[in-house]
């Protein structure tokens, strides 16, 4: 976001026009020094991911460290998150999916913490990058596929063979099912990153309008309203990512379509 100030030196701005740089907030830069970004360089993305780990630890470990029967505020939130995800796994994916609960809880906590941390002004939204969400979605996709084949063997392919449809239609339906199966990680990841990126970009565009003095009060109001919506979206996208993981897991555990 600091790069915004440099954008002001851009040619177009010098002419006095309104030029937006809504995507500059997603730039990855090294945290220490200059130079190219290699695989292990510590970047601002690293910083904010580490902060999400810190937030998770603060909530889930320090929040519950007193093991109180009557919970404190932090412990209630930790227990609420636990119960929320646990119930989701149990209700959507079934009782035998409970052994995947830590995995799903990990995804949920990481995404929800990253989303909320990304909403802090001047922060970096890690979940707005496709590289991040594709890793998460592919992890889910691979897990689900492997679990499906290990649990059901070849019967897992029955997921694509819609036995309730007329016989003539089944090959076509099978093709569609296969395609939709492989599109899953794509939509799964792009939904999350797209939502977060869209929200942040919209906020940035509204912020750009604040440069015009007449419009700026309206712009501030709009940013406030959008920010409220983004807080909601941050949670709902984490919820949706998690619940879709549960749905896919249910398909893998019970492929009877």
């Amino acid at each position: 976001m600091a790069s915004e100030t440099h954008g002001a030196e851009h040619g177009a701005e010098e002419a006095g026009g309104l030029v937006f740089h809504p995507m500059d907030q997603f730039i990855v830069k090294p945290l220490f020094g200059d130079g190219p970004i290699g695989m292990f360089t510590i970047t601002n993305a690293t910083l904010w991911m580490a902060l999400s780990v810190v937030a998770v630890i603060a909530l889930m470990i320090f929040g519950s460290s007193r093991r109180a029967i009557v919970p404190s505020r932090g412990q209630s939130i930790a227990e609420l998150a636990y119960g929320f995800v646990y119930k989701m796994v149990e209700d959507v994916a079934g009782k035998d999916a409970v052994k995947f609960f830590p995995y799903i809880m990990t995804l949920f906590m990481f995404i929800v913490m990253s989303n909320f941390l990304g909403l802090i002004p001047m922060s970096f939204a890690t979940t707005s990058h496709f590289a991040v969400t594709v890793v998460l979605a592919l992890a889910v996709f691979l897990t689900v596929t492997i679990v499906g084949f290990v649990k059901n063997g070849a019967a897992f392919l029955g997921l694509f063979w819609v036995s309730s449809a007329p016989l003539a239609l089944r090959p076509i339906l099978a093709l569609i099912e296969v395609i939709s199966y492989f599109v899953r990680p794509v939509s799964h990841s792009i939904r999350l990153a797209g939502n977060i990126m869209a929200g942040h970009a919209v906020l940035k565009v509204f912020a750009g309008f604040a440069a015009i003095a007449v419009v700026s009060p309206l712009s501030v109001v709009a940013i406030t309203a959008m920010y409220g919506l983004e807080v909601l979206v941050a949670f709902i996208q984490a919820y949706v990512f998690t619940i879709l993981t549960c749905v896919y897991l249910k398909d893998a555990l019970h492929p009877s379509h």
Binding site: D24, K29, P36, V53, I61, R67, Y82, S128, A131
Partner: protein, 181 residues
């Protein structure tokens, strides 16, 4: 951050620090992010599955146990309360019966005393009445004697005044006759 513009100039950032195209699609940054997100997720996974989740699960189970115990204790106390209420009601009924009995006894006692007193009073009244009766009859007898004496004397005098010779026997019988008539 003044050095930013010179920092990560590459395929994706121009000389002014602005992004060229979408930063999300910059191939230079993909490897870095993939590496760090994998590290992050693994760290969170171990933190949660080793420490946080078992602890929260145990706290929740413990609370459930406490609540169950408390509910059982409350049930017990409630049963005790019901029992105590029964005992109280019984004691109350007993006390009431006792009170009624005592009241009836007291009433009977009073009745006996009262009857005796009434009988005594009646006897006294009767005695007094008999006495009075006697006195009255005495007075009446006395009065009759006096009347007879006065009448005899008067008759004697009248007879004497008329010049007759009254003999007492005749006058007496005449007066007897008059007084009876």
């Amino acid at each position: 951050m003044a050095t930013d513009s010179a920092t990560s100039v590459g395929k994706c950032v121009d000389a002014f620090g602005s992004s060229i195209g979408m930063p999300q699609l910059c191939p230079d940054w993909v490897g870095n992010q993939i590496f760090w997100v994998v590290v992050t997720v693994i760290v969170i996974f171990f933190v949660l599955s080793r420490i946080a989740l078992p602890r929260i699960a145990s706290v929740l189970a413990e609370r459930q146990g406490t609540i169950t115990n408390d509910i059982a204790a409350a049930e017990e106390l409630k049963a005790k309360a019901v029992e105590a209420e029964g005992a109280y009601n019984k004691a109350l009924a007993d006390a009431r019966a006792e009170a009624q009995r005592i009241a009836a006894e007291a009433k009977a006692d009073i009745q006996v005393t009262l009857d005796a007193a009434i009988a005594k009073a009646d006897a006294q009244i009767a005695a007094k009445a008999a006495e009075s009766e006697k006195a009255i009859s005495e007075i009446r007898a006395g009065a009759l004697e006096s009347v007879k004496a006065v009448a005899t004397d008067t008759a004697n005098e009248i007879v004497n005044a008329l010049g007759g010779k009254a003999d007492a026997k005749t006058i007496g019988s005449a007066i007897e006759t008059r007084m009876k008539g």
